[in-house]
């Protein structure tokens, strides 16, 4: 039983990270119908920027927690600029291009960002500095660390902030309106360019936060880390019903839990034929199964063909 | 009396709480032009979509040419001999007019991948026949000179005609036209009237949804009136025109 609880905790932590990244995918997709393949790379850049900035601040004598905070802020700002730049330079000129064109651009940007990161930070694994005390807690036989707690709390707070932004501000209303119907929203005076740019900037900021969490959790970073993470997060977004913010969050957490439970139990379920290194397939198997029975995702509204 | 081609029995369809169709029963006889009229939102297009398999009725069903129609299978409806046009024209915009009609032949032809790859004599003969039939149909609806133009570059009236040609290419027993005269001027409507008249003369039964009451009353053998999803009356135009319920439905209570 305590293995079960333990895996749930691990799953929720991992899932919170997926959820934050998934929000970036789902916002952009909801508004402009684009799978922004480069989003995982934005997350990766966030992690690596944090390492550099926090390292500099720590070297300048700041205590770890402040250095970490400085790194986080720098990462968020960097990624926001990166997201804005991506949209402006790569995607905006392609608004009316055939459907696959921006997808290839996104893939191209993903390759570019990975290799820029490799040139800037090298091809080796980097150690992510520890900002938080290594405290352990125990509840009902399950252990969790201060870092895990931190991740879940920050993720929850960030998502609450996003919900306020989307449902309580004018910008949020404009974003929702654009997601519903860009043409009508634009007739009503919504500046579509600004809304799309905002979706990229906000999504990238969330990605940066997620990037810091990944670094804190696994304590290493690498220029290729964004790819699988992005893939899983996108899967989470689809699982929850792409374009749906709450769906992305739920999908992320759900995916984290499924993966953790899957990895924990697959050995005993298959008589040790399949081991925990199959962890990565759960995301995709679950995705395929869910879409077979619920083609618009678990929480997605039934939408007509947009394409 | 001519034999029954289509019998709808108590067809019902609702969307959430809205009852778009309330147990509509009607019969269409072979060889007639049958008009389906009613105010906006009366359920005409919903009826069409149920008949052609795009919607699954919540109740009732259709019997067509002596056998029941399977719901939710548009491609089967076409194979059985029901062809349709759309209220908001749905052509294959980036294909030429000729290609659009050739696609219409799909359901009446056989050639598969192997035939296409090997270019067998049978495949080539069939392909030539498809092309010839499509050209003939373009002549039939009088847009043969636009054959090689992209469908989306045709004028509105020609697009309507092309859609009818594409539907006729499936060799339908029943041709369903959803507001074909919408947006047409008087001359174009007159030409459309002649076209439908010709289609009837050539033996195809026509189901016509139309707003233009004058066109319907002048052209149709029988007319059904829908209001709030329910059938008000089904009879010859002369009777329908004088029915007080129809006048009420159109002019409002």
């Amino acid at each position: 039983m305590d293995i079960f609880l333990q895996q749930i905790i691990n799953g929720v932590v991992q899932g919170s990270i997926y959820a934050l990244v998934a929000l970036g995918y789902t916002m952009v997709y909801g508004i402009m119908g684009l799978i922004n393949f480069a989003h995982g790379e934005v997350v990766m850049i966030g992690t690596l920027v944090t390492i550099t900035v926090a390292g500099l601040l720590a070297a300048a004598g700041l205590p770890p927690i402040l250095a970490g905070l400085g790194g986080l802020i720098a990462a968020v700002l960097c990624c926001m600029a990166l997201g804005w730049g991506l949209e402006r330079v790569a995607y905006r000129p392609l608004r009316n291009a055939p459907r696959l064109t921006p997808l290839i651009t996104a893939i191209g940007m993903s390759i570019v960002l990975q290799n820029v990161a490799m040139i800037a930070w090298g091809r080796n694994y980097l150690t992510f500095p520890a900002f938080l005390p290594k405290a352990n807690f125990e509840v009902a036989g399950a252990h969790f660390t201060a870092i895990q707690l931190f991740i879940v709390i920050v993720a929850a707070a960030t998502m609450a902030g996003l919900m306020l932004l989307i449902y309580r501000t004018k910008l949020g209303m404009a974003m929702r309106a654009t997601a519903q119907n860009p043409a009508v929203a634009s007739l009503m005076g919504v500046n579509i360019d600004r809304v799309i740019a905002a979706a990229f900037v906000i999504g990238s900021a969330l990605g940066a936060v997620a990037g810091v969490m990944v670094g804190t959790y696994y304590e290493i970073a690498h220029y290729q880390m964004g790819f699988m993470l992005g893939l899983k997060a996108f899967t989470a977004a689809v699982l929850g019903g792409i374009g749906n913010l709450a769906g992305a969050m739920a999908g992320g957490v759900l995916l984290g839990i499924i993966e953790a439970l899957g990895a924990g139990y697959i050995g005993s379920l298959t008589g040790d034929f399949l081991g925990s290194h199959y962890q990565d397939i759960f995301a995709f198997v679950v995705l395929i199964v869910v879409l077979m029975f619920k083609p618009s995702g678990l929480f997605g509204e039934k939408t007509g063909d947009r394409a | 009396m001519a034999e029954t081609l289509l019998a709808a029995t108590a067809v019902a369809k609702h969307f959430g709480g809205v009852k778009a169709l309330r147990d509509v029963s009607l019969t269409i006889r072979s060889g007639e032009v049958y008009g389906l009229i009613g105010p906006n939102g009366a359920g005409k297009t919903t009826f069409f979509n149920c008949l052609t398999g795009l919607y699954v009725p919540d109740g009732g069903g259709f019997e067509f040419a002596g056998a029941p129609l399977v719901a939710d299978a548009p491609q089967q409806a076409a194979a059985r001999g029901i062809a349709r046009t759309f209220q908001n024209i749905r052509l294959f915009g980036n294909m030429t007019a000729l290609e659009n009609v050739m696609v219409g032949r799909h359901v009446r032809t056989r050639a598969g991948v192997i035939g296409a790859m090997l270019q067998t004599a049978a495949t080539r003969a069939e392909e030539a026949a498809i092309r010839q039939k499509a050209i003939d149909l373009l002549h039939y609806v009088r847009i043969e000179d636009r054959a090689d133009d992209l469908a989306r570059n045709l004028s509105y009236g020609d697009q309507r005609r092309l859609e009818i040609a594409r539907a006729l290419a499936t060799e339908p027993k029943l041709l369903c036209l959803d507001e074909p005269a919408a947006g047409m001027n008087a001359t174009e409507t007159e030409a459309l009237r002649d076209l439908i008249d010709g289609i009837r003369r050539d033996g195809t039964t026509v189901l016509l949804i139309e707003h233009d009451v004058k066109l319907v009353m002048g052209l149709c053998d029988r007319v059904a009136v829908l209001d709030y999803g329910a059938l008000v009356i089904e009879d010859v135009p002369a009777v329908v025109q004088k029915d007080p319920r129809v006048i009420e439905a159109y002019l409002g209570a």
Binding site: A90, T101, P295 | A78, A111
Partner: protein, 355 residues
Amino acid sequence: MKNWLSPRSTAGIVLIAAALVALPFVLATGGQAWVRIANFAILYVFLALGLNIVVGFAGLLDLGYIAFYAVGAYAWALLASPHFGIHWPVWAILPLGAGLACIAGVLLGSPTLKLRGDYLAIVTLGFGEIVRIFMNNLNAPVNITNGPQGITLIDPVSIAGFRFSGSSEILGVTLSGPQKYYFLLVALAILVIIVNLRLQHSRIGRAWQAIREDEIAAKAVGIDTRNLKLLAFAMGASFGGIAGGIFAAMQGFVSPESFSLIESIMILAMVVLGGMGHIPGVILGAVLLSILPEALRYGVAPVQKLLFGQILVDPESLRMLIFGLALVLVMRFKPAGLWPSPERKRELQPEKAGG
């Protein structure tokens, strides 16, 4: 197609044929490595044209195409290598590999083809990853795929006692192994080009285009959209399976590394960048994208030395960086691809009448 027999196009075909025959000998003067690069370019032409049936003709976004290639490659590797001690002949394995890939395509496609385009993309992508992960891990407890180490010593293609590996003399001309594969690959590429051409202008090809244009209207004229999509999916998968078999035989070695997502993306990029649905465009895209990284591999380091006197940036990452930038720039300035079909070009022009 009708004017194929006109004098001008006959001359063109003769010219192209002569160039294709001469190419491996010209390349060989620079070393067999160049012939191998050409072989891979042609293999990618084959793959890209297989995917073109799925993406270009039927309009289905498949991001897991490499999985079918992997199925074909592993089918060959397992049935013609010392790994299991099985050495089946080519005429048995190649159709089997194609058939297995086709079955995989149908199994994946039948439940998922009703999904919206982008969902299909992510499902196929996920399928590709699943296949790769299995190949990576099916070495324990029963060793099927030999895991990340892959399978070595795979039998080369051998037809009626004629082996495609090692050099041999034909009609007084000495042909190296890669050169022999070159001619085999050219033959296969011509085959897939003919299949593409003939399908495009057939009843099936028209139905695919109709589905791409307006699925509801396609259904209304009686097209069984689901079966036709499945057909495209299965055909694309079969071609992928054949290419995989040839790949395994040619390399003599397969490992899961060759079937990563980036490969699927690369092939899709070839199709889109060249000009989706347009056969000459797709060929151009495949040749360019398979040669470009290789050319950069040889070009990046010397150019840096020339400019800066030393190697400043890791050539491998610079090469991929330039590749990524090339994708972005081509899409920016040629959104329909480098060589789109005339129809495609028209599609991008503003409409004359309302539609």
